[in-house]
Structure formats: C-alpha cells, structure tokens
C-alpha cells in the first residue's frame, strides 16, 4: 500500500464509528494488538517527551526503509502510536519527513483528545518526523 492508501484506510476505518466511545474502543483494540516491545528497549532515550503517559518509540533503518516499533503504559495512547506506525512504518525517511500528517486532522483525533494527550500526539508526530529527518539522505 502506498502512503496515501494507508491514510485513506485509517480514515475509512475511523469513519465506521459515529460515537467517540466506539472510536476509543477501536484505538484500544489497536493498542492491544500492537506487537510486544522488548523491555530492554524501554530506555530514557526512546521515551517521547511531552506525553503524560509513557511512550517509547524505536526506529530501525533496513534497506532504505524506516521501521518503527513502540509501546505505552496507557492503552489508548498505545492505540494512537500504533495507528501512526501503521501509516508510516516501512516508508523511506524522506517520504515521512516530507509528510504533512494532515490525515490526523481528517479523523478529528487531535480535537477529541484531552489537551494533555493532544500535546502528546503532537510530540509523537514531531518525534517521528525528527527521526526521519535525521535518517534522510
């Protein structure tokens, strides 16, 4: 799937739910389904600053593509980072660094989070961008 196809899929999946409570259920499912993150990778330098709950993000460059793994102690946050990873993992660093992340606005995620968690979402996006920029050619 291309980057745009992935984004459209997320938008489509989200639009299935009218109620925000159901959307949280969906995020919780995503969070629970996220593959396990090794305990030894839960280090200070992988912690995303600016989140109220703890979020760890790791990135690995393989064959020119960036692969992300992540974890959080809060399950909805974990669902959110899972959703970001599902869109951006396996793309080139340039593709990610140049992205406008506008699809987040289309699913209304940021507006529907508490201010502290909305800040956390911005921090997650900035960290993904920053990692990609550093790994870009």
């Amino acid at each position: 799937m291309t980057k745009e196809e992935r984004k459209n899929k997320v938008i489509e999946d989200f639009s299935l739910y009218d109620e925000w409570l159901d959307r949280y259920e969906y995020l919780i499912e995503l969070g629970k389904a996220l593959e396990p993150f090794p305990e030894e990778k839960k280090t200070e330098d992988r912690l995303i600053k600016g989140c109220q709950s703890r979020v760890w993000l790791d990135a690995e460059l393989r064959d020119g593509l960036l692969w992300f793994t992540a974890d959080s102690d809060a399950i909805i946050t974990k669902g959110i980072i899972s959703l970001l990873i599902s869109v951006y993992s396996g793309l080139t660093p340039e593709e990610i660094a140049d992205d406008d992340f506008a699809f987040i606005g289309e699913i209304g995620l940021k507006e529907n989070l508490s201010p502290t968690r909305a800040n956390g979402l911005v921090s997650m996006i900035n960290t993904i961008k920053e990692i990609s920029r550093l790994r870009s050619k």
Binding site: S53, D73, A74, I76, T77, R117
Partner: protein
C-alpha cells in the same frame, strides 16, 4: 435544603458535554461558582469599580467597603482574632510563597531547618525548597504510613533546635485525610516552632477555627470554595506578620517613600502591594455564606455523608481497585478519592469517562513525592462537592465499571 435546590444556584452544572449531562467530580481542582458569586463580581464591576483606599470619591469608598467587608467575613469564617491578620493574595500558592519569602527573610538562616510532610502538594514543597536553597537551610520530611496517615509519632524526633517552621496540609489533595493539626501545632509549639497549614482542601470540607487549631499561618484559595478565581487568603498571627518584612514592594504597602528609605504600612496593607483583585474579592462573601449553609444544613450534610460512604465502600471493596487514603476513623476522610485500577491506566480511564460526561482528575495531582511514596506513576481522583447528588455518584460507579470493562 435538597442538593437539587443547591444545584439550581449553579448554572454551570446544567452544561452538557458531548451531549451528556456534565457530572463534575473535579471539585478538588476547582469548585463551580454559584449565581450569587457571579452576581457579586458583576455588581462590583457595574456599581463599585474603583481602586481601593486611595481616593476620596464615593465609588472608591464603596469599593473599599466591599473589599474590607470581605476581609471581615473571612476573619469571622476562620475565627481569626483580628481583621488585619487576614491578607488577601491570589491563592493558596501565593500565600505560601509570601510566607516562605517573608518569614524566611526574618527567621531562617544557614543551617536552619524547615519541616514539610510527604503528603504535600507541590505548592507546599517548592516554596520551602527555594527558601532552603536561598538560605542554605535544610528541608526535612515527615513521612506517611501505608494508609496515608502522617507518622505523627516521628515528629518530635524530627524537630531540632534549628527547626524554624513546619508546613503541613490540613487535608491532602490526594488522600483526602484530615490531619491532626491541633496535635501537630501543640508538638511544634512545645519546641517553639510555628506551623503553617495549607487549607486549600481543608477549608472546603471543615469548619476552620484558626484559634482553636492554634496554627500560626493558615492559607486557602477562593476558587476551591465557590468564590471567584484569583482570590486567596493568608491568615497569620499578628505578632508574626508584624515581625516579617514585606514580600513585594509597590503602592498601598508603604507608609512613606523617600529615596533615602521607605517605611511600611501597617498590617494587612504591608503585604498587599499594588492594585488588589478589586472585583473578585467581594465574591468571597456570598461564597462563604453558601459554604456555611453547606456545613450547617442537615440535608446537605447527610447527602455528602451518604455519597462518601457509598463511594468509599465501592472503591474499598472492588477487587481491581486500590484506594489510597484510608484513615482509621471515617470522620477524618473527606469525599475525595484517589485510586488505581489494576490493569487499566488512570489516563485511559479519565479519557473514556470524560466521553461519558464525567470530569475527573488523573495523573500525579501536583504531589509527585507522594506518588513516589505510594509507588505509582499517577492515580485517578474523584472529588465531590455539596452539589453532587447520589445519582451522580451511582452514575460514576456504573461508568467506571464500563470503562474498566473496555480496558481490561
């Protein structure tokens, strides 16, 4: 008075969030404001808006009367001996900072000690840390036990001949336990140590008499007890306030100003530099009137006690829930409950319950050292006010069950 009748005085409680009725259980962060308080603010703006004490004109006199009337109402409310022992500030935090600076300047030096407790809000820790850094003094900590009770038995051994002050909360904003202030003051006074009491939560839930408590300073915020935000009180014994230098310089707080040196106004003006919160301070009068009513009205008191008992039993007996702040005697518990749910993060719970219309607090609640002591990264807190109903309490437990079901 029925809680429903009390609710009618709070227009904001009719608010809908996400189309659902607001269930406001974040009262320990700030309470809601009744119409009478909003009216007092508006009346001040519309009929008596003038700077205080300074001018000879009629409106200045009206504004000053309203402001000084509020001072006498606060004096009466906390049983202070003299009106000049009441200093208006912007809130409890500002009051503590005032004392930490000003008392510190007069009485704290290198090698001296200040005692705080493990259950304090950051506002009653950090100003003392700043003072200790400034004066090369030491901050000592009275610990809590596993139930959240202060280990009063250890207090005597903490006090030395270098101890200059003890700062302690009346009611912890996390544990909801009323501390034995009179006993603490007695132990401290036997050793010549003055006591500052953080009443930010205490004045909301307990009828305070500072002379009976025999504390040397008592501070609280207006916004937590129905009054306009930006109002705060510092009570201090006159002898101590008199011996303390001004905190801030400016208008109102001076007697004479010369370039060769200035002299300070008498109490309480000495500590009220600059233009005061003219329009908000008069709102303390209707706020305290209503709070008095909440303390004395049998139906309202019964309603609060019923809610407290119901929520306590629910949380304490829930197999997945750990409730923090369980005093030996239930009458020392206020309707403020912090807890953790096994397998569900406090932030997730707060976020889901927000969508159900319930306002809760989650996180460290400005008490990081206490969170460390309890071994948690944060907790979920539900804090009740006299206008909360049993129906809301039951809705809270139903929604909590639903939220836990979603997460676990």
């Amino acid at each position: 008075m029925k809680p429903q009748q009390l609710r009618e005085q709070f227009p904001v409680l009719d608010t809908k969030v996400y189309g659902k009725p607001l269930v406001y259980l974040d009262n320990a962060a700030t309470s809601q404001r009744p119409k009478s308080v909003v009216d007092a603010f508006v009346t001040s703006c519309n009929t008596a808006n003038s700077n205080l004490h300074r001018a000879v004109h009629k409106m200045a006199q009206d504004a000053t009367d309203a402001y000084e009337g509020a001072r006498r109402r606060v004096q009466e409310f906390i049983g202070a001996a003299h009106p000049e022992e009441i200093v208006f500030t912007s809130g409890a935090t500002a009051s503590i900072n005032l004392v930490a600076y000003s008392f510190g300047e007069a009485f704290v030096g290198e090698g001296d000690e200040i005692i705080v407790t493990e259950a304090e809000h950051h506002s009653n820790i950090v100003p003392w840390q700043l003072l200790c850094e400034r004066k090369k003094a030491t901050l000592k900590v009275l610990e809590v036990d596993d139930n959240g009770e202060l280990q009063i038995g250890h207090l005597r051994s903490l006090i030395t001949h270098n101890t200059r002050l003890m700062a302690v909360t009346h009611v912890s904003n996390v544990l909801g336990i009323e501390n034995p202030i009179r006993e603490i003051a007695q132990i401290c006074h036997e050793n010549g140590v003055p006591v500052l009491v953080d009443g930010a939560q205490g004045a909301v839930h307990r009828r305070v008499n500072v002379q009976e408590l025999d504390c040397d300073f008592y501070v609280f915020s207006g916004h937590k007890l129905f009054a306009a935000s930006g109002t705060g009180v510092l009570y201090g014994k006159r002898l101590l306030l008199d011996a303390m230098p001004p905190f801030m310089g400016g208008g109102e707080m001076i007697e004479t100003v010369k370039f060769t040196g200035s002299t300070w106004a008498k109490l309480p003006g000495k500590f009220e530099a600059g233009t005061q919160n003219i329009n908000a301070v008069p709102s303390l009068v209707p706020a305290l009137d209503l709070l008095d009513k909440c303390f004395s009205d049998a139906e309202l008191v019964e309603n609060q006690e019923n809610i407290k008992g119901y929520i306590y039993d629910y949380l304490d007996n829930h197999p997945r829930i750990t409730l923090y702040g369980c005093p030996a005697e239930m009458d020392r518990k206020v309707p403020l409950f912090s807890f953790k749910v096994e397998g569900a993060h406090h932030e997730d719970l707060a976020l889901i319950m927000d969508k159900m219309g319930i306002a809760l607090r989650s996180g460290q609640m400005c008490a990081e050292p206490l969170m460390d002591r309890l071994g948690v990264t944060g907790l979920l807190r539900a804090s009740f006010a006299p206008y909360n109903t049993m129906e809301e309490a039951e809705y809270f437990t139903q929604c909590l069950e639903k939220a836990i079901g979603m997460l676990v």
